[in-house]
């Protein structure tokens, strides 16, 4: 059967290009906006996702991993004595000031653990040996810090809260949601640098369970033993840290608004071009009716045109987003597009294009086939 929908699209290349470009633009906009947002959100939980802990103990109502509050560090003993716990350590997360060579001060997020090698962070080491952190006033600094702190190399010194600390290694991809670079120091050193306010206090207890232990049951047990703390599974804590930024700031609304506008632009462009195309082919549709075709035959043509525009537009938009990702990575913007999200966008594109065709459906439903006799 001749595919009239496809033939019409190929026949009217300019209009087809406009329709597909409209869809592609909308798809690219959605991919870039949501991809950047997902990349940012990934930063909000990047350390939680990589740190090899099954449970996190936090102070009560801590909103996200960056905004940590202190509680007595001795509580770690209660955690260690809980059945099902294989290992538990204190983790200090603090914003500390770093003095740059030019005298300016910048904030950075500091993670303090007794032994990083046991917990799997930093997860991507560019240079240096994590075991060396325990040998003195040393730190690993993430490579992303160069954007704000300027160039640095292993062996350089920086002042952290007025004390000289030597950079002995560089990590990659450790960037907080607030875009503050992350540094890794020993637990004791962070307590010292915090200037007394964190003496005897920690901000988290990270817990690894024994093989086969029931995370939910251990978490319930821990909540009874630590009535003034919260206990989360890794997934729950990761989700809470991400949700904070979506719900408590305008960034979530901004993303939803942009996605909505992207979809709106796509729908308007597709609706307009499909409708104009329908009007230009109105006599052809009248002819279809005159030779015995039904509205369903015409809906099939219009629907197929919308689907073709959606499929090609989606593929073009996905390709453009994929091409933009490396360019954005160069300016340290992470564009994260999961297959699941791409599938959602594809289905959404199809539905929106079919929705756009509804206006044309309504028009052709009322075509008077007698128009075929008009000159």
């Amino acid at each position: 059967m001749p595919n009239l929908a496809l033939k019409n699209l190929l026949h009217d290349k300019l209009r087809s290009t406009m329709t597909i470009a409209g869809v592609a633009f909308a798809v690219t906009l959605v991919f870039v906006q949501v991809g950047l947002f997902m990349g940012l959100l990934d930063n909000a939980s990047v350390t939680i996702d990589h740190l090899d802990a099954d449970l996190w103990v936090t102070s009560r109502n801590t909103p996200n991993v960056d905004f940590a509050h202190g509680f007595p560090e001795m509580l770690v003993q209660r955690v260690r004595s809980t059945p099902g716990v294989q290992r538990a350590d204190n983790l200090l997360v603090q914003f500390l000031n770093l003095t740059l060579p030019d005298g300016a001060e910048e904030g950075m997020l500091v993670y303090g653990l007794e032994d990083f090698t046991r917990w799997g962070i930093p997860w991507s080491v560019e240079s240096g040996n994590l075991a060396d952190l325990r040998r003195g006033a040393y730190m690993f600094l993430d490579a992303s810090a160069e954007r704000r702190f300027g160039k640095f190399a292993v062996g350089d010194y920086r002042e952290v809260m007025g004390r000289r600390v030597k950079i002995i290694g560089r990590s990659r991809e450790a960037l907080s949601f607030t875009t503050s670079p992350i540094a890794f120091l020993t637990y004791d050193l962070v307590q010292q640098l915090a200037g007394g306010r964190m003496d005897g206090r920690t901000t988290y207890i990270v817990v690894r369970l024994e093989p086969g232990a029931d995370a939910a049951a251990v978490a319930t047990d821990l909540r009874q033993r630590l009535p003034y703390n919260d206990v989360y599974t890794r997934e729950a804590w990761s989700k809470r840290s991400r949700s904070y930024w979506v719900a408590s700031t305008g960034i979530g609304l901004n993303m939803y608004l942009t996605v909505f506008l992207g979809c709106l632009v796509g729908v308007v462009v597709v609706t307009q071009t499909l409708y104009t195309s329908t009007m230009e082919h109105i006599k052809e549709f009248g002819t279809v009716k005159a030779i015995g075709g039904s509205n369903r035959d015409i809906y099939r043509i219009l629907g197929a045109q919308a689907v073709i525009a959606a499929v090609i537009g989606f593929a073009s938009g996905r390709l453009m987003a994929a091409l933009l990702a490396p360019a954005m990575a160069k300016i340290r913007l992470k564009l994260m597009i999961s297959n699941e999200f791409a599938a959602v966008v594809f289905v959404g594109t199809l539905l929106l294009c079919l929705f756009a065709a509804l206006v044309s459906f309504r028009k052709v439903a009322k075509i008077d086939p007698a128009l075929v006799f008009r000159g």
Binding site: M1, K289, I291, G292, G293, A370, V372, F373, G375
Partner: protein, 263 residues
């Protein structure tokens, strides 16, 4: 009493494929009613060619639309290929058009994105013929109009006469018993128009289809068995037998070719 145009006694042996009796059509324009047809009768037999003539605004196209089951009459009776058209069941009209009627338009109304073959094939698809059968029948129809060598041409690459041949082939698709042509030669020069009329005559006579041609073109009379004149929504002249009485109204080579294909 409605004006009537009964078929002449000389053509009574054929089966009647289209019959309209007492057709009226009233359009409402705001609060006014405009009567376009005022009790028109017409009968068309298989293999018969009738020319419907009349000035602009006489109701020709409205009458053609009613005969083609595109419009329903305000009153009157239309029987197409033995089936009475029920105005109360407009959903049935497309099925009657699909089965029994082939249209040929003044502007050809071909699908510009489809080749000549695809135009005919698409019409067959609409009529429920699919796949290889549709392709084969489309090719046959193009053979019948002597255009098979241009079957892969788009309409824009065809001359006016060739486009009209494709339109005729499309109208033949599905072997309807009634062909309705609206000013089929109006956009053609006289030489090409004469060729098209010859083709009409051959197809109508060889395949025994009833052919009604709405026209201003006096040349149509050369192939018509009867001429019916309409003015102000009424048949005004008694029809006159024409081509059926002429010795040249015999199937020519094209018609013989069609018969061979059909057999």
């Amino acid at each position: 009493m409605p004006s009537s145009a009964p078929a002449p006694a000389t053509a009574t042996a054929e089966r009647t494929v289209l019959e309209a009796t007492g057709i009226t059509k009233v359009f409402r324009e705001g609060s006014e009613e405009v009567s376009v047809l005022n009790g028109v009768d017409l009968r068309l037999d298989a293999g018969e060619i009738v020319a419907l003539e009349g000035p602009s605004g006489s109701g020709k196209t409205t009458f053609l639309s009613i005969l083609g089951c595109i419009l329903t009459p305000t009153s009157g009776r239309v029987v197409v290929d033995g089936e009475e058209v029920d105005a109360a069941r407009p959903n049935r009209l497309p099925a009657i058009r699909k089965r029994s009627i082939g249209f040929i338009f003044q502007q050809y109304n071909l699908f510009p994105a489809l080749t000549a073959l695809e135009n005919v094939e698409y019409a067959l698809n609409i009529k429920g013929v699919r796949g290889k059968a549709a392709k084969d029948q489309a090719e046959e129809a193009l053979v019948a109009v002597d255009l098979v060598d241009r079957r892969h041409f788009l309409p824009r690459d065809l001359s006016g006469g060739q486009k009209q041949r494709v339109a005729i082939a499309r109208a033949l698709a599905g072997r309807p018993s009634v062909l309705l042509a609206d000013e089929p030669t109006a956009n053609l020069d006289s030489a090409v128009g004469t060729q098209i009329l010859g083709l009409f005559r051959d197809l109508a006579k060889s395949e025994r289809r009833g052919l009604l041609i709405v026209t201003h073109d006096p040349n149509v009379r050369t192939i018509a068995d009867r001429v019916v004149r309409i003015r102000d929504g009424r048949i005004v002249d008694p029809d006159v037998p024409l081509a059926s009485a002429r010795p040249d109204a015999q199937p020519n080579a094209t018609a013989r070719l069609i018969q061979e294909i059909a057999s």
